[in-house]
Point group: C2
Chain length 310, copies 2
Amino acid sequence: MSAPLAPAPVRPDWIAVDWGTSRLRAWALDAEGGIAAEASSDAGMSRMEPGGFEAALLALIGDWLPPGRVTPVLACGMVGSRQGWVQAPYRAVPCTPLVAGSFAEAPVQDPRLAVHILPGLSQPVPADVMRGEETQIAGFLAGTPDFDGVLCLPGTHTKWVRISAGEVVSFQTFMTGELFALLANQSVLRHSVKTAGWSDDAFAMAVDDALSRPDRLAARLFALRAEGLLDDLPPETARARLSGALIGAELAAAKPYWLGQEIVIIGAEEVSEAYAAALTRQGLAPQWVSGDTAALAGLAAARGLLRQGK
Amino acid sequence: MSAPLAPAPVRPDWIAVDWGTSRLRAWALDAEGGIAAEASSDAGMSRMEPGGFEAALLALIGDWLPPGRVTPVLACGMVGSRQGWVQAPYRAVPCTPLVAGSFAEAPVQDPRLAVHILPGLSQPVPADVMRGEETQIAGFLAGTPDFDGVLCLPGTHTKWVRISAGEVVSFQTFMTGELFALLANQSVLRHSVKTAGWSDDAFAMAVDDALSRPDRLAARLFALRAEGLLDDLPPETARARLSGALIGAELAAAKPYWLGQEIVIIGAEEVSEAYAAALTRQGLAPQWVSGDTAALAGLAAARGLLRQGK
């Protein structure tokens, strides 16, 4: 007589966690590096109260933890910030994106857990910081250790990063994604910009316009509202133009990073495609790596350092 | 025996109303133009439902309306927009800011009310619109009919306006005030920027920097967060720098409007002072007129047109 059907319990070798501002994501990895399970929740840092971290994590991955042994958790992102679970102090560039002995141990009650949090990177002048992207960079470099060039990591806060000899040499952050979200969803432009929809042509023209006259960014925004009122500008077109104006302004200011460089974009697919289209128009041939793939590879590299007892 | 003390009832000759996105403001005027009473509420356009306009207005000024006669109300602002009480269609520039016969009559139930809404102005190319500022412009020109130069009306959506021969020749809108509010209160910069406080020096340096390298606006914003984390940048300084970066970027894009021109700033005191300081650094000597004074004078000019039966 067969037992009732039930899924085999997940018994991971270790657990990878990307804990950002808006999402908490976790992967259960087996000893060969295969993904046994994955899970995510909206328990991002912006919703966390001090003291609530362990409970939020256990709510997501508690079922993966066998009793009687300690499962290591490697975590990156804002969870290591001053307002996070435990602070993992920034490491100053130039430096490798990942180094043994720099992980912060989070305080836990559950004897099945050991949580190691990766530190972010800082740059003294011009002042800049990152948390989470350094892990994606480490993941990318794990597969391409000889890379010499520039990484673009688009997102809420897009990072441009110079890499040489396995080190992060310098980087710069742009608030383009956050600006887009605020303008599209919360400003007067929300009446004129659709939350979805796109126009490749409108995006391309807006990027070109922004790059040729970057000083006029402030003048371009309200025109989207006025053209919506006076000329029935389609809201999908307005959305693409807003994105193009902001990404174009970013490219204008980030020109020292990308001009004449080999560029790899690491990020989510949709936003990466927009950056790739904009850069392709400037005569570049950017490569793309999935942000999730890079983050997981970076956490696996951190797990490797930990296992070697370094 | 004297009657119990009670305030004399307000019995206005007419009522002036400035009904914008966030505030509803009203003044009771006597026949000589004196202000008999004033009142305001937060029943701005953003909180109105269709059909709720008359009740919101009566809640504020109902006590001022004597029975048995009709008191005229002259209103300007977003109340005349497509989503407003009644649409007062835009008039296209070049044109005078105010013209007889263009007011829209709002539908009312209360027999004591007659509500006349002033139309806004539009510009076909480059597409732009204003609602409310045209009344301030009319008020300013009522006292200075021979003005030839440029008006700057700073606020949520700052307007730059070319005036010649009593007409609005052209204008351009910048979302600077709204951008500042979104970034200071709702973006990641809220952790680094104080809601009050100021530094004149930091503002001036940020304006100069923005004007000399306007293409770098997108790169300046996140630095405020990073310097807050790494260098303990004082949040008052960060607030002034954010304002300076945005106003400086606006001035860079609005240069064709102000360069070598006579400038009058019409607006609220604090924001007008910031613009005046920025323009003074560019070698200009801007004058200032209170936005409330100008709005009231414009509504009085509209009342004059109405009384003449034009």
